[in-house]
Symmetry: C2
Subunit: 675 residues, 2 copies
Amino acid sequence: MTTGINAGGLSPRQLANAIRALSMDAVQRANSGHPGAPMGMADIAEVLWNRHLRHNPGNPGWADRDRFVLSNGHGSMLLYSLLHLSGYALSLDELKRFRQLHSATPGHPELGYTPGVETTTGPLGQGLANAVGMALAEQTLAAQFNRPGHPIIDHHTYTFVGDGCLMEGVSHEVCSLAGTLELGKLIVFYDDNGISIDGEVEGWFSDNTPERFRAYGWQVIEAVDGHSAQAVDVAILQAKEETRRPTLICCKTTIGFGAPNKAGSHDCHGAPLGEAEIAAAREALDWPYAPFEIPADICSAWDSRERGAALEVQWQQRFESYAQAYPELAAELQRRLAGELPEGWTDQREQLLRQCQLAARTQATRKSSQQVLERLAPSMPELLGGSADLAPSNLTQWSGSLAVSSEQRAGNYIHYGVREFGMSAMMNGIALHGGFIPYGGTFLMFMEYARNAVRMAALMKIRSIFVYTHDSIGLGEDGPTHQPVEQLASLRQTPNLETWRPCDETETATAWCEALARKDGPTALVLSRQNLPALPRDAAQLAQIERGAYAVADCEGLPDLILLASGSEVALALTAGEQLAGQGIVVRVLSVPCIERFEQQPAEYRDALLPASVRARVAVEMARPESWHRYVGLDGEVVAMHGFGESAPAEILFEHFGFTVAAVVETAQRVLART
Amino acid sequence: MTTGINAGGLSPRQLANAIRALSMDAVQRANSGHPGAPMGMADIAEVLWNRHLRHNPGNPGWADRDRFVLSNGHGSMLLYSLLHLSGYALSLDELKRFRQLHSATPGHPELGYTPGVETTTGPLGQGLANAVGMALAEQTLAAQFNRPGHPIIDHHTYTFVGDGCLMEGVSHEVCSLAGTLELGKLIVFYDDNGISIDGEVEGWFSDNTPERFRAYGWQVIEAVDGHSAQAVDVAILQAKEETRRPTLICCKTTIGFGAPNKAGSHDCHGAPLGEAEIAAAREALDWPYAPFEIPADICSAWDSRERGAALEVQWQQRFESYAQAYPELAAELQRRLAGELPEGWTDQREQLLRQCQLAARTQATRKSSQQVLERLAPSMPELLGGSADLAPSNLTQWSGSLAVSSEQRAGNYIHYGVREFGMSAMMNGIALHGGFIPYGGTFLMFMEYARNAVRMAALMKIRSIFVYTHDSIGLGEDGPTHQPVEQLASLRQTPNLETWRPCDETETATAWCEALARKDGPTALVLSRQNLPALPRDAAQLAQIERGAYAVADCEGLPDLILLASGSEVALALTAGEQLAGQGIVVRVLSVPCIERFEQQPAEYRDALLPASVRARVAVEMARPESWHRYVGLDGEVVAMHGFGESAPAEILFEHFGFTVAAVVETAQRVLART
């Protein structure tokens, strides 16, 4: 669909210049920002947004809108200009407050700050990965819900990427997989301007990018003049015609196009142009208007509210006809798009926890995790699982898992391949798209390959569930490259991420339920490779797991000593506690599956578990101690890992590194002696 | 050079079967490990090691040896078999102790555990990245030191990679750059066996890998039969003939070759074959020997000690002739290969610190870092700098920086492009090769893209220097995607990594000097974007910086209150301390540029600074508080970041997030009131 806009005889270039003017003016006013990319990509953006993008500025949440991702997020003024001009609720005043505290126009596009921003970008390559996830979500959701004559989910995902995005490794991971999965409705615009921060990229980036993407199975449209509206339009039409392969449109552009002295140079990448250059650019662009002034005819030509509202109305009508033909499917789709858990969820959860507690199985928590999935997943088709090529180890597959492939698009499980970062950033894109709760597994150690995507999920407050197995030296022989030491503490430090390290099947089930029910942030599930015993619990304890910490063994009145532990060390702490109790010491043992959750509890709950007057405290965890100093203070101790692991059978390592009942008892006695 | 080995009429296959037998036997005995890759790549390895690899088993440290990297490190038994068979000091008994505590044969190859292991591998893709770094180091060192007729540095870098390595994003980053930099002596063997842990890779990895690598500018030798010694030999000869382009040799192999029932399946990837299958494999391979028994003729055919010693002797002779022609160059090369700092280093260091202290400049510590480089680098040509496309921001270039390129091979600065992970893992390879001290910059936030390479440097105890600028919300408008919060604490938790966060130029100079002088581990230098004032110091304080923590303001006798801070917050703590002192409170203020270093000090030093009886302690850092709980205990507080940052000018953010004198004073008063 090409809707040529020529109202008032305005040229595409004039429309694009509105972006250029707003971008250079806002950056100048903020005295900070990146004018180069917005000015370079303005012509491409104009064609895409005015002739192709199906969206409704009046409702940024319309489920079947095309998705647009600015992966080179430093060019945020491009996106803000587009949102403002096309009619989103983003005022000129907000553009004037670019990069100021609490404005809707932060330095990089931030989800939740600005209507129409689909994902937070800035960390290069990840916007592209989000876009691949969105396209995969679209394709999978369409396969699950569309019916003949009812293409109720049917939209494109467009993304702009720069040289930086394509140099980043994550671009390889996700574009390779996008080719394999034949995400034909993904259209990527490469801003090939030959410039990065260090200067002309040829000295460090000489890939034949078209050949690279053809090697991934993409359609590549080469050598498009990114400043020719006609050429860009033709390329987009060709991209939309291709339904099997994703498309890369390689656009030759000039960074900072329109700035007569700085265009084509890295000088205009990340700094204001300066008043003189802006004046010269106004002249060169024939843009005689004051800063932040957009003439009415240009405003009107850009305004997409009417067209957008009509598009959504058409879709609503299609949806109503779908709902008549398939009422249950329609209701289910609405539930899933709203991100609501299935009806009966609360009962199901309660039953699950009770059953786990009754079963009292000794098993690895990774196995418990799989069994929880076996119980919950049949009634939660929104679960879109996966693993970075460790399915048989992470146990992220369950009996109903069906691999998504180019032939089987309606699956519920992604074989992401050995691509931890790509997987995690794609999961974020899937969560952002809606209709799914993504979960994906790798070893806890290789969370590090994906570290920043986990952070981005937390920053964006989205429901990605990261399954991390093989969580300590307990994995044994694979040795220090695979044995996490600092990773657990690192996860816990990320704001808005909840990290659960359950000690048995019941805690694992609780952790999964909390992760699923949590709508405002991601969860990391940290699971053991080795078997762990089931703990006895009464109803009160069972109800307290979700509070993040609770007493698994307690005493009357104030304890002499408090032991704290998580995951595989809870049983060890309990046994040590029993020995100490046998010596007449009054002991409380806390299981702490989720520190972040515990920290959110009311002070009374926290103080009751950890009375200020009890200073003899010992924490036990086969990881770095930093998570625990806040609880043990200057008087207590942490039985922890201080260096790297070793390659040996797990039992030998527990002994070697001092994770034994004797060592915990000895530490407790030492702490008791000095407090 | 092809040295056909046919002693006793043994076929290449028979020689390769020794690897297969040792590998399946050792894995079986350990009841843990990966037989598939060693059995699949045995024929390739046999040809490479027996006909091409120039090494000396008697001296694994010979400077001009070819480097061999097993990037698919889970196939460690392949490497251990090769080392044992060719004559390294790795006994059969050690092979029998595969994956046992303190053996020389840990689960994955670990640097320092086994003679002949060039780098620790296991985290996929990074061995390949190390190899690219080694090849770059070879090429650069050769360009710096070789003279006409004296090719004193002249060796190849060979690496084995699996599907997993090529799916990982880091493979894209480093192979792209290897093409641009024309690392013609890098030869990569791709074990194209079509299998990964989840099964047949075609469902998740359908790249046209040859086309991809041609897009990087590589020579690609396609469709080599990895089980034909002849075909592999021809391919290696072709690879060695090419001097400009790196070479990828794509070898079609069968995983677990020789195991009649499990070969070709992921069943043999990561688990012992089992006794029955091993017996069947012995039959299929015509290998009638007992476990760990290698017949004498096969042993003797493999033994490369004599050949290796002769190779090194030839090189020694060449080196002697070089040393006669260029005595100063030869001495300098020997110094650099030994990793010794230049003569006069101690004086230079002392002078530098004194001058920084005198200059008393107010400036960003990233700027101080650049000025330190200006002072030190001219006399330290072993510094091989770089940045992941942030040179003008990281300020990692100095006036003598000369970019390495295919035309200018003797440079001292790498434009790594937007490739943080690739850069960091290549730096590790450069450090491992010897002759250089690599340093490389990015924003502290994007350390996360490279997180595991930083850990690997610490695990391997190598001298990589990571320069991380823009270290807090002090970077301002770029907002939360760029503002580190948890990254600093995360770095500090990695064992054997020293993280310095200096507060002014003198501390920055100390940090650089400590990083350079540290031979047994990496250092992270965490630097501000914004200006920081210079602190006054007496000689005693100047000398104490290297201890990681010291008093920048002190009192007579025991303080009422101790303030602790690092980096940009030290000045804030000092001002707050002055205000509190004005209220009659006896205050000590500690600058803590390096917690890890402070933790290594004798107890007397630590206790003197932080007397156990003084419980009123407040730490101030614009990062997560977890690093500081160990010092402030249950009674103190940390003025810290708890959530994510925001996009706004830095001064506004300091106010917004409570990093003000008033807030620190108020916190201190609260702490004093309750202790």
